[in-house]
Symmetry: C2
Subunit: 194 residues, 2 copies
DNA sequence: AATAAAAATTGATGTAGATCAATAAAAACG
DNA sequence: CGTTTTTATTGATCTACATCAATTTTTATT
């Protein structure tokens, strides 16, 4: 609860009552490793705030899985398009380990929005943040595989530790083989120089 | 004015007074062909609602220009990251022809948000829409050049008429030469079959 | 209409990164 | 532990698309 309230106060200066009311409409849910928070094709009815564990946000394509993002503690995750339009999700969300979330349902969210402007402002700021982050990420997609990896390694070093390399490759839209070669080229020269 | 009010009412059910108050903080501005609505490096202080003409949203890179988007009548355009954080813009916006916009300044926007929840809701819905549209576009970036073009031609046929092919190539992150070849492969077979 | 400028096409060649196949290394597990 | 499974590395080859250079076509300008 403390973490959650600290988190939301980074965006909006909620009073104790407002923050508590927010927290109170969230439901704690646990997911075992491998369980799905959302299945592609179903309608996403919840926004999740992760309090423990790691989830992947991915798309099934043919027989493989394309990983779009990895989220962990103090991140929000949902398929916003599906959630807002009540349309079938084009992505899935899966727990990579033991995951605990605070879930906010569509109805509860709309009720918060109707209740007071502070919640609406929070929603606006979250969406703005999402968009700006996403637009920045889009710039990287136009670069070479090597540049994408180097940028990623610089901006999100914690993820390199946290998830297997083939998932990073998938996020970067390159093959595991190509990423392995990029790392050899990028890292080995530094080691040799020591 | 009619167009603008119709537009904003697609998102929020503004009363006549609310809509008029919104319209009244917008300033009409004209740009000549080639003029900049925003220059990379400067701070973006306005959100523009285009009432006439076409603008490109692009990035300078080395000596060339990478076109990220093209906007025209009844579209909003801004560098949201720069606008929100008052940080230097990483993109520029340029008029492709005679352009008329309704400009909303940062301060006026914040005042609207403070004035009533309906404006804040509008801001939230706009940001949500932007994000969802953008996330959908991201899916395409992982596809082949040919798939990107075919998808684009299907989803935005009006743009094919409206801007030169080399700009479409830039938006799709492929060279004009490659796009020309893709089109030959994709279009000619159909014509031959007639 | 004639000329100039901008945009699109075509060909030749190069290369980043994909794909396929075979180990090797690391992690998970009885 | 050793054994199985998962993940990462390496090599050989292939291909989509880039790059460079030369026309051709289209559009704008006088």
């Amino acid at each position: 609860m403390k973490n959650f309230i600290n988190h939301i106060r980074q965006f909006v200066n909620f009073t104790d009552d407002e923050a508590a009311a927010f927290y109170n409409v969230m439901t704690e849910v646990h997911f075992k490793k491998g369980a799905h928070l959302l299945e592609q094709g179903s309608i996403c009815g919840q926004v999740y705030f992760i309090t423990k564990g790691t989830v992947i946000y991915f798309m099934k394509q043919d027989d493989s899985e394309i990983i779009n993002e990895v989220f962990f503690e103090n991140c929000w995750v949902t398929e916003y398009g599906s959630f807002l339009a009540k349309s079938p999700a084009t992505k899935s969300i899966r727990a990579m380990d033991e995951v605990t979330v605070l879930a906010l349902s569509y109805n509860n969210m709309q009720q918060l929005y109707s209740k007071a402007q502070c919640y609406e402002r929070f929603g606006r700021l979250m969406a703005e943040n999402l968009f700006v982050t996403h637009e920045r990420a889009m710039i990287h997609m136009r670069k070479s595989a090597e540049e994408r990896y180097l940028m990623f390694a610089k901006e999100r070093p914690e993820l390199l530790q946290r998830i297997p390399q083939y998932m990073i490759a998938s996020m970067l839209n390159i093959t595991p083989e190509a990423l392995s070669r990029i790392r050899r080229r990028a890292i080995k020269p530094v080691r040799q120089a020591q």
